[in-house]
């Protein structure tokens, strides 16, 4: 593709993901409101929030480091946009992906969390420092089970005859030719683990202690206002739209473009994952940081390792449902 068309497609993907993310944010707020027997906000509410924030002052405290403080939300936004673009491209055109794009994706999806820590550290506020240290511990906790779960998917598709590959497109086409990764014991375990890690990556209850509103006055975002805060909210909206795409691509067969009902099943899977994240959010309290670390290190990681062992066993012994 030409350079300009590439830029154009990237901007279109970013804008589309942003709009989708804001709609999903409304779905989350509306479902939460209905679960609590309330009415909830109108459908355009998240977009109005962003618009309003764009119109406010952008204040920077005198103790903040200007460069880190102002650049962090922008870098996070760009990283989330690129990750979303890569995912859409992989889903729509699985035969045109590049080698190692899964690894690039893992790095890109980690950048918003790192930028959160950078921005919070540059804020010059003790609440933000507490939030940054919590975000760091959270990052150290959920990345490992997520990576092991991705390895399980790679092992399963290798066993299905596609050969070992880190290409997202390869994972999708292998699943579409044989069976989705989730249709196996190790795959189901890996999918559940990935959903819980997604909950943590999105900063949702029960793992939202970096931005704990009542506890540490919005933690990492305490000193942000105006367009910088809008940038953070847009990053989170884009991540919320992009992460279910990753889950479907890796574990659930991607988007089957061979028939008209493929699009419907894709939309159904997507909505199911989004509503699942919201329902987990509404039915659980916030965990402490030591509980979170214990949960991810001593409960999820062994389960993920067990799933990986089952997947390998399935490949070597030729048992398809493991």
């Amino acid at each position: 593709m030409g350079f300009l068309t590439t830029i154009g497609v990237f901007l279109a993907a970013a804008a589309g993901t942003l709009v989708l993310g804001l709609v999903l944010k409304w779905v989350d707020r509306k479902v939460t409101a209905r679960v609590q027997w309330r009415v909830g906000p109108p459908w355009y509410q998240p977009m109005v929030d962003i618009l309003k924030l764009m119109g406010k002052e952008n204040l920077m405290p005198a103790t903040a480091r200007g460069t880190g403080f102002l650049l962090a939300p922008l870098i996070a936004l760009v990283a989330a946009a690129v990750a979303a673009a890569v995912l859409w491209h992989a889903l729509l055109w699985p035969h045109q992906t590049f080698v190692g794009d899964l690894i690039v994706l893992v790095y890109l999806l980690m950048i918003p969390a790192l930028m959160t820590m950078l921005g919070a550290g540059a804020s010059g506020n003790p609440h933000a420092s507490v939030g940054a240290s919590r975000e760091m511990k959270l990052l150290l906790s959920y990345e490992l089970p997520l990576l092991i779960a991705l390895l399980v998917a790679i092992a399963r598709t290798a066993g299905a005859g596609g050969g070992w590959s880190f290409r997202l497109g390869q994972l999708i086409t292998a699943q579409q030719s044989s069976a989705p990764v989730a249709w196996s014991l190790s795959g189901v375990l890996a999918l559940v683990i990935a959903i819980l890690c997604t909950q943590a990556k999105l900063g949702q209850v029960p793992f939202d202690l970096a931005e704990a509103e009542c506890e540490i006055m919005s933690g990492v975002y305490v000193e942000y206002s105006g367009p910088s805060l809008a940038s953070w909210l847009m990053t989170r909206a884009m991540l919320a739209a992009a992460l279910p795409l990753l889950l479907i691509a890796v574990f659930w067969g991607g988007l089957y473009r061979g028939a008209w009902w493929g699009y419907l099943t894709f939309a159904g899977k997507y909505l199911l994952l989004v509503v699942l994240v919201t329902l987990i959010r509404n039915t659980n309290p916030r965990l402490r940081i030591d509980q979170v670390m214990r949960f991810f290190w001593f409960r999820l990681t062994p389960v993920a390792a067990a799933a990986l062992i089952l997947a390998f066993w399935g490949i070597t012994k030729g048992v398809s449902w493991l």
Binding site: R29, A33, Q36, W37, R38, V39, G40, P41, P42, Q45, V48, D49, L51, K52, M54, G55, K56, E57, N58, L59, A212, E213, C214, I216, M217, S218, Y221, V222, E223, Y224, S225, G226, L229
Partner: protein
């Protein structure tokens, strides 16, 4: 400008400040978020940091100790913003007006640092949540008039 004011009045984020209240008004402010009164249908949510806020919901008489801090908080809030003085203590210091430890009333304290501040008054002891919603809606209507091009923008620091 009109778009900015439209977006502002459709999504007012509230930060609650207690400058010396008996907590009765604070309890009534909390009730606004409960399913019965549900302020979120107007787009109003409670935020944890004054920098994220559009409305400073102030309860309590403004004591001498709290007065410079309330003024500093107002300066640290990103403009444009609205101050909501809740309860008869915030309006005119209620029954404590002749006590030794009083600062200025909330609106005089805010106007000392920003003469153009937009202040909403909610009388009551404590005011019912319906009164607070009424004040919020009237505030939104006032912001609508500010959005008209002929009106001068207020509250700009």
């Amino acid at each position: 400008m009109a778009l900015r004011m439209w977006a502002l009045r459709k999504s007012l984020w509230v930060y609650h400040v207690n400058v010396g209240a008996c907590n009765n008004c604070d309890i009534e402010v909390l009730e606004l978020l409960t399913p019965r009164y549900d302020i979120e249908r107007f787009g109003m949510i409670l935020v944890g940091s004054p920098r994220h806020a559009d409305v400073l919901a102030v309860t309590g008489v403004c004591t001498r100790q709290a007065m410079p801090r309330l003024q500093e908080l107002y300066l640290q809030t990103a403009k444009p913003c609205v101050v909501m003085a809740i309860g008869s203590c915030a309006l005119a210091q209620g029954i404590f007006t002749e006590a030794y430890h009083m600062g200025l009333p909330v609106d005089e304290a805010i106007r000392a640092v920003d003469p153009n501040a937009i202040i909403l008054y909610v009388p009551g002891c404590p005011p019912k949540p319906e009164a607070m919603i009424d004040a919020a809606v009237k505030g939104m209507a006032y912001l609508k008039t500010l959005g008209k091009p002929a009106a001068k923008a207020s509250g700009k620091a």
